[in-house]
């Protein structure tokens, strides 16, 4: 009896997972992660580059920490096989070549990781010029991956 229940639960769970779509889920989570990062990138851009008169050390440090947290969260887990096709919040733009270019992808991802963590460190000092320089490097690391693995509109 207990086995039957366990089996039913297992079946239900796996069916639910299938309906939810593990591929769509990965795409949705990674799109969310980058959107969240983009909000924080926008704050730093605004307060450090575009309107330095609004610079708030704590707000910028918090934003940099948030970006680093996204970078450190293990996003690679959301790039499972088959996730170059599917709809998360919207259709994914991951290039199919992503899965053939594992080495380049790893380099690009690590570049972002290192740049984002360095930004968090620099942001903690409150040195606006140093933040601006490091922020540019983070932007370059974003572009590195976009050029490599993202389909252009």
């Amino acid at each position: 009896m207990n086995k039957k229940i366990a089996l039913t639960l297992l079946l239900t769970a796996s069916t639910t997972a299938a309906i939810a779509g593990p591929i769509e889920e990965q795409i949705r989570f990674r799109q969310s992660a980058y959107s969240f990062a983009a909000w924080n990138v926008g704050k730093i851009k605004s307060q450090v580059v575009d309107h330095p008169e609004t610079f708030n050390k704590d707000a910028v440090a918090a934003a940099a920490n948030a970006i680093a947290a996204v970078a450190n969260s293990g996003l690679g887990a959301l790039y499972g096989e088959g996730t170059d096709q599917g709809v998360g919040w919207k259709q994914t733009r991951l290039k199919p070549e992503f899965f053939q270019k594992k080495e380049e992808v790893t380099v690009a991802a690590n570049t972002f990781n290192v740049a984002a963590n360095e930004l968090a460190k620099v942001a903690a000092t409150g040195d606006i010029n140093a933040i601006k320089t490091q922020f540019g490097k983070v932007g370059e690391s974003c572009k590195g991956c976009h050029d490599l693995a993202r389909i252009k509109e």
Binding site: I44, H51, N56, K143, E153
Partner: protein, 240 residues
Amino acid sequence: MKVTIHIWDLPLRLFHWLLVAAVPAAYITAKIGGPLIDWHGRIGIFILGLLVFRIFWGFVGSTHARFLTFFPTISRLAAYFKGRWQGIGHNPLGALSVFALLAVLIAQVGTGLFANDDIAYAGPLSGLVDKPLSDQLRGWHNTVFDLLAALLVLHVLAIVFYRCVKKHNLVVPMLTGKKQIAKALATSISANPATGFRAIGLILSLIISCIAMWGVSDGIAYLYHPGQSYQQTAQANPGF
């Protein structure tokens, strides 16, 4: 016997060579990205200023800068292809190239103003459209660039063709404003030197160009996005 006549006025030449500098600069800053993407935006605004200037100069500039002087009408194109066209400014085929380049550059600036780079740059007018459209415009910005690059290659090849095959140097007149033509042709009506340069037209074109640059980079933004942005919150943690 050759005589030297004045064809390209100084503002026209400045427009041309500033554009020659600005377009590659815009391309390179976009390719490198990072902090240079802000310069890409600024150069784009500058190109917009150049284009607005050129359009007005096409009405109030001197003879061979005016669109009506060289507009490629069907009859002019027909005459050109039959070898009967005579003149010293843009020939009808070259005129087609001029209008095509202007149209593509306008499209390029127009899409760029509303686009974003999905990293840390949003065009000065991107707030006027929603994000999916702004993303789509980035795509068109890429596509239009390919078209622009193709036209520029054609433009340079045509200059090389004229230099090597037809023995016409087109670059020197664009630098000096002066063109050497056969004396026999100089007396004909189709070889009229550039006249009608007016300072008032130049000042007006420059003012309109500056207003356009200010308008898109700052002016319009004030209308739809006044005051402080939510991204400039003074609090790191507004209570939660």
